[in-house]
């Protein structure tokens, strides 16, 4: 029997405007299952509902209807969160802290002891090429440096699953290459990785499986390990564009 790390079934999320009481459906009956060890890329245009989906998995938003579980636990439960590493989109940090202090704070939130926190934070800062900036206040960091620190903090607890929202955004080509290498390394360790992106080349290089979210609906899912070689990226781009075009066509035909 397959062990699913993430399981959603007919997941619905409505946002309600506080004054007009107008409802907006951000996610509409989304069913996604991610087995252990898979690298799943959730693709979609801006505003498709990718971040909303992640926030539901993390318990930052409440489910309107449908089922959702992470490691069999309710989203946002401490048991689930202890096994998750999360990187938000364009992460914001406490500008009064240094990178090392911030990672120490994250380690404390995971209940790690002082010795482990120190060793792990130094290891992770070296991994994201930030060791020399460990004692600089975060307010002096560039966007790319903050993104690297965001990646490091998401690995602090040695998580079983990673939720990364646009992990390569704000990074230069070398940074993007580094992130891809980190993902491949984590994959080889058997970690489950779930990330949102609209950068198809990155997704293409590291993912086993992709899903396409469009206007809150999951309009396609595909395993991408079956195709190989230089044609892979073109295949994915073609699949992405065609799936979205088809969904738009059937939507306009229905309306």
């Amino acid at each position: 029997m397959t062990n699913y790390v993430i399981e959603t079934s007919d997941l619905i999320k409505d946002h309600t405007s506080p004054f007009l009481r107008k409802k907006f459906r951000a996610l509409d009956r989304v069913t996604i299952r991610v087995p252990e060890g898979q690298t799943y890329g959730l693709l979609g245009l801006n505003g498709a509902g990718k971040t909303t989906f992640l926030k539901l998995l993390l318990g930052l938003l409440k489910v309107t209807d449908g089922q959702v579980s992470v490691f069999g636990h309710e989203p946002g439960s401490p048991k689930a969160l202890a096994r998750i590493g999360f990187l938000p989109e364009s992460p914001y940090f406490y500008s009064h802290l240094t990178a090392q202090e911030f990672l120490d704070l994250v380690g404390k939130l995971f209940g790690m002891n002082g010795k482990t926190r120190k060793a792990k934070s130094l290891e992770l800062l070296a991994m994201v090429s930030m060791a020399e900036h460990a004692k600089r206040p975060l307010r002096k960091y560039s966007k790319g440096m903050l993104q690297r620190l965001g990646l490091a903090q998401s690995l602090m607890n040695d998580p079983d699953i990673l939720f990364w929202d646009e992990p390569t955004s704000g990074l230069d080509p070398i940074g993007r290459r580094d992130v891809r290498q980190i993902i491949l390394k984590l994959k080889s360790q058997g970690k489950t990785i779930f990330f949102n992106s609209h950068l198809l080349p990155d997704v293409n290089e590291v993912c086993d499986h992709v899903g396409i979210l469009h206007r809150g609906r999951l309009i396609g899912e595909k395993a991408i390990t079956d195709s190989a070689g230089t044609g892979r990226y073109q295949d994915l781009e073609k699949y992405f564009l065609e799936t979205i075009a088809q969904a738009d066509q059937s939507r306009s035909a229905n309306s």
Partner: protein, 267 residues
């Protein structure tokens, strides 16, 4: 459980003490307290009393300003700057987050009040105040801190759902009402007695009564403080009652803050 709570409290403390505006306020407090010496020298034989009154008023005022302005940003800033995403996605409960923020700021205010208090007590000692008087002044400073703990709890509660500007107004209103609640009750009784037609009892009469029961009677703290600085010792029983009374309100407000944070979505 306490590791997460302590981490949030320490981070909040660090954030506030690394904010330069705090030092500006503390500097102001020292300068105003020193101004008490000049004012005292203008009086006839009341130097010590004027310095003492001025010093305590400054501690209360500056402490209140810091508590309100930092407290009303306490949770709001985390949401506005989206740092809350990095905290609430770690295995900590939301009550730990709220309580940790509250304890961090409370400790910061403790340090600030303590520094200002030590400065005042030191000045009074230089001016020849007796040890007994200094102990009573220290107790009065303790009561000011107790009141500030309540103000921080009110500000924390509002910061979980309102913008800082609204929170400042609400917190100031509660603070003022707390100091005038006995007067409000008296006023409502008077207006009730002077109105012959029951139907004409203005709604503000009832409002005054409701406010008296909802908002803690902070005037009691002021009265006890007055007793202390007049060098009249206060029964331990009364002090214990006051501490319990204010702590009960603080616990209630923190529970409400947790409830709001539990229900909130972070989109």
């Amino acid at each position: 459980m306490f590791s997460g709570l302590g981490a949030i409290a320490l981070n909040t403390f660090r954030e506030t003490v690394r904010d330069r505006i705090l030092y500006a306020f503390v500097l102001f407090a020292f300068l105003f307290t020193l101004a008490g010496i000049i004012l005292g020298s203008l009086s006839i034989g009341q130097n010590e009393r004027i310095l003492q009154d001025m010093g305590l008023a400054v501690i209360s005022m500056i402490g209140g300003i810091i508590a309100i302005f930092l407290g009303t940003n306490l949770v709001y800033k985390e949401i506005d700057r989206r740092t809350i995403y990095l905290i609430l996605t770690k295995p900590i409960a939301r009550w730990q987050f709220v309580l940790g923020k509250y304890l961090g700021l409370s400790f910061c205010i403790f340090v600030v009040t303590g520094l200002m208090g030590i400065f005042l007590v030191g000045l009074l000692a230089v001016f020849g105040a007796e040890v007994k008087a200094l102990v009573l002044v220290a107790q009065a400073i303790g009561l000011i801190y107790l009141e500030l703990l309540f103000v921080i709890a009110v500000a924390t509660f509002f910061s979980t759902f309102a913008t800082p500007l609204m929170s400042v107004l609400f917190t100031l209103a509660i603070w003022l009402i707390g100091h005038m609640s006995q007067a409000l009750l008296e006023l409502s009784k008077l207006s009730q007695a002077n109105t012959s037609d029951a139907a004409c009892i203005p709604s503000c009469t009832k409002l005054g009564q409701v406010m008296y029961w909802i908002v803690p009677d902070l005037a009691k703290l002021t009265q006890v403080r007055y007793e202390l600085i007049s060098l009249r010792p206060v029964d331990c029983e009364i002090l214990f009652y006051l501490i319990t009374y204010i702590l009960a309100y603080i616990i209630f407000l923190l529970l409400l803050s947790t409830l709001v944070t539990e229900q909130r979505e972070f989109s």
